[in-house]
């Protein structure tokens, strides 16, 4: 008779829990745990190396014949090019300070998602070819060679890191595991391995400027529709200036705010705010994307996609650039843009707010200001007429998006704005906010629906903290300043803390903004009735979808 497994055997999460070393346990490519591969034609259009069709669940990934040489050469090249990488490879003492700081580790309980061990996947390869001890002692010194299962393992774990950098905050040496992940992804691209969710937007950005590849005239029409919706809510149709030469300010924001719910309400917030200020600004149909999925691909691709910001600022002869609520866009701007495409064009000047006269010294080099800083400055100078009671039906918390928090150091400005437009604000626990913020679980190009399950476990620490303030303080809303967050936090909140809604900061700003000549507000930007508004007033004009 066949022997049935014991109850203990049946429930072991990865049977058998033998003495196998963590490094020898290979990942299973089960649906829900990997992103779909990039299409061959996409990779060809982008002139990526070794484009080919492949299937992550197949044994053979169709790597080029000389794949090992390609990877070894590419790795050596990156070590030569980036001193930081060589340092990160050499300096780690495996103290484990980062081990339990990664949301992927906390959610998956997979040891290889400890940042130290995720980096060790690459470091073990480094030891074999680039350290004396590794060359002589091999496995005894923690070295290992390349084989196809190692390539698969690198792919699996490089796309289970959102490059959020929470781990590097706790590393006594400041090792930036995000940059290690970026290098691993670069290496994998050398043998034609990329994901559809990243490479398709990269292709679209390359050809039409934004992630969905919406062409200029259509982009304008979609924005016009949002202006119509603004009019329905406020009675005022905001201006939608496009490609206006000699405007003072060029406004660039992630295109998700134009296409996706609930990001569009944040975009409507921008339009209404700029209209109220009578700001001399322009949108661009060329620089119609603030996001940069190139930064999830390779440094060169990030540079290429970033170039349009300064190119458009030069073409339109603007003085400076105002940037919308985005996450990784700001990491690219703050940490890489100067090196990629700087210095800024000669027509640009260090940004000065035309409303308050504040000079943004922190943006003197990049000539780009984050809209949360811009609005915080307006509020500080009492330039906005705000009625925060319109947001009284919400008790909000604030999710620090990883890149603005850890990549830009912007922690207080969004809170300052939020407290000015909402009367009810509650912080999440201390070790889940500000520099220590937990990622939404889907940044760095992982915000695709085929890995929803992975995202829910990776976002668990964030969801858990949100649930805590929901239950303890009645929080029913979470604001954020990142377009990816606006897309990924609603399902996360719905899973871990059902009943909590998610919005961008400027949606709440516009809801509270008392505009000159506006009609009585009976609904918010989502066209949902504001509680406590009497029905006897003339109803707002109905807007059809």
């Amino acid at each position: 008779m066949a022997k049935l497994p014991t109850p203990q055997e049946l429930i072991a999460s990865r049977p058998p829990l033998s003495g196998e070393s963590w490094l020898d346990v290979k990942p299973e490519f089960a649906p829900g745990s990997f992103c779909y591969p990039a299409k061959k034609e996409t990779m060809e259009l982008l002139h990526m190396p070794n484009p080919h069709e492949w299937d992550p669940t197949a044994d053979d990934w169709g790597l080029p014949e000389n794949w090992e040489q390609v990877l070894c050469d590419a790795f050596a090249d990156r070590l030569e090019k980036h001193r930081s990488l060589k340092l990160f490879m050499d300096i780690c003492v495996r103290c484990g300070a980062c081990a339990d700081k990664c949301h992927f580790f906390l959610g998956t309980n997979d040891p290889k998602n400890m940042p130290v061990l995720r980096a060790e996947l690459l470091r073990s390869l480094y030891r074999r070819d680039h350290t004396m001890l590794g060359k002589i002692l091999g496995k005894a010194a923690g070295a290992r060679g390349w084989d196809t299962s190692v390539v698969k393992e690198l792919f699996y774990y490089a796309y289970q890191c959102t490059e959020c950098r929470r781990c590097s905050l706790f590393c006594p040496y400041g090792i930036d595991t995000a940059e290690i992940t970026m290098i691993v992804r670069e290496l994998l691209h050398e043998v034609g391995l990329g994901t559809h969710w990243i490479m398709d937007p990269v292709k679209n950005c390359s050809f039409t400027g934004n992630h969905l590849g919406i062409q200029p005239h259509s982009f304008v029409e979609i924005v016009e529709m949002l202006a119509d919706d603004c009019e329905t809510v406020t009675g005022i149709r905001p201006k939608t200036p496009f490609n206006k030469k000699n405007a003072e300010i060029l406004f660039i924001t992630p295109s998700g705010d134009v296409f996706a719910d609930p990001g569009i309400y944040t975009f409507m917030g921008y339009l209404l705010l700029f209209h109220e200020l009578d700001l001399d600004y322009t949108l661009s149909t060329y620089a119609s994307e603030g996001g940069n999925f190139g930064s999830f691909t390779s440094f060169n691709m990030a540079k290429k996609l970033n170039a349009k910001m300064y190119a458009e600022a030069e073409r339109l002869n603007v003085k400076w650039i105002l940037g919308g609520e985005c996450g990784h866009m700001w990491r690219v701007i703050n940490q890489y843009m100067d090196t990629y495409n700087g210095p800024a064009p000669a027509n640009m000047i260090p940004p000065v707010s035309p409303i308050t006269g504040t000079a943004f010294a922190n943006a003197a080099s990049t000539k780009m200001v984050h809209i949360a800083e811009f609005t915080a400055d307006l509020i500080h100078h009492n330039k906005l007429n705000l009625d925060p009671s319109r947001n009284d039906h919400i008790i909000t918390t604030f999710h620090d998006s990883c890149n603005p928090a850890r990549g830009l150091g912007m922690l207080d400005e969004p809170r300052y704005v939020l407290k000015a437009v909402c009367n009810n604000f509650v912080e999440m626990p201390e070790n889940t906010i500000r520099e220590q913020t937990f990622c939404c679980g889907a940044g760095s190009g992982l915000n695709t629906e085929e890995i929803m399950e992975l995202r829910m476990r990776a976002g668990m620490p964030r969801g858990n903290a949100l649930r805590y303030v929901q239950q303890k303080f009645g929080v029913n809303h979470m604001a954020c300043v990142c377009a990816i967050d606006r897309a990924t936090l609603p399902p996360l909140a719905n899973y871990w803390a059902p009943g909590v809604t998610v919005s961008g900061l400027h949606e709440l700003v516009a809801n509270a903004l008392v505009m000159e000549g506006e009609q009585k507000r009976t609904m918010d930007l989502r066209q949902e009735d504001l509680p406590g508004i009497e029905e006897d007033e003339p109803a707002a004009q109905e807007g059809g979808e």
């Binding site: 109850p7 829990l17 959610g107 309980n109 029409e221 529709m225 296409f259 996706a260 929803m452």
Partner: protein
């Protein structure tokens, strides 16, 4: 000793042994973190497991508790198990790890038919709780499936509105 008193006697020890048994289903390198870091936000997985352990044990022991309270204590733990790549049996089978622990502790106290009957009643409560957890698990999986559908819809929501704004037969630009 009355079985009820026995359950109270082991109120700390058995939930702790059960959480240890749950941790033991994770890889070796993971167990250390789960065991040693006691921070509900820094080590939420362990916190969820400990909360479930207490709620589960009290319910099995037949303590005065409402079904809503038991459900609330298990909710985060079941949600976590539902997204951790377990098969359904592995995700929820951990509840039955309580049985061998309880049997070891309570067998010496089951000397009379009445005590045996009380004990078996407690075990039956565990079976019922596991079924309740299965319902919760399925609801969580349904939420997950619906999230994928909603996200596909929301991702292009404004473009869909824009496309619908064209009258039939007119040229669709873009």
């Amino acid at each position: 000793m009355d079985i009820r008193d026995c359950f109270r006697k082991y109120r700390d020890e058995i939930p702790r042994l059960w959480t240890e048994a749950v941790y033991a289903t994770y890889p070796f390198e993971t167990k250390g973190v789960l065991r040693t870091v006691s921070d509900p936000f820094g080590n939420p997985g362990a916190d969820m497991t400990q909360e479930a352990a207490k709620g589960l044990y009290d319910a099995v022991a037949g303590e005065e508790t409402s079904i809503d309270d038991v459900r609330a204590s298990l909710e985060r733990f079941v949600k976590l198990r539902a997204v951790q790549r377990h098969t359904p049996s592995r995700a929820l089978g951990v509840f039955f790890l309580l049985k061998p622990i309880m049997r070891e502790k309570f067998a010496p106290h089951c000397a009379t038919p009445a005590a045996v009957s009380d004990y078996l009643t407690a075990e039956s409560r565990l079976d019922s709780l596991a079924l309740m957890a299965f319902d919760m698990y399925m609801a969580d999986r349904e939420t997950l499936a619906q999230a994928r559908i909603d996200e596909i819809r929301d991702r292009y929501a404004q473009i869909a509105r824009w496309a619908r704004s064209f009258k039939a037969g007119s040229l669709i630009a873009g």
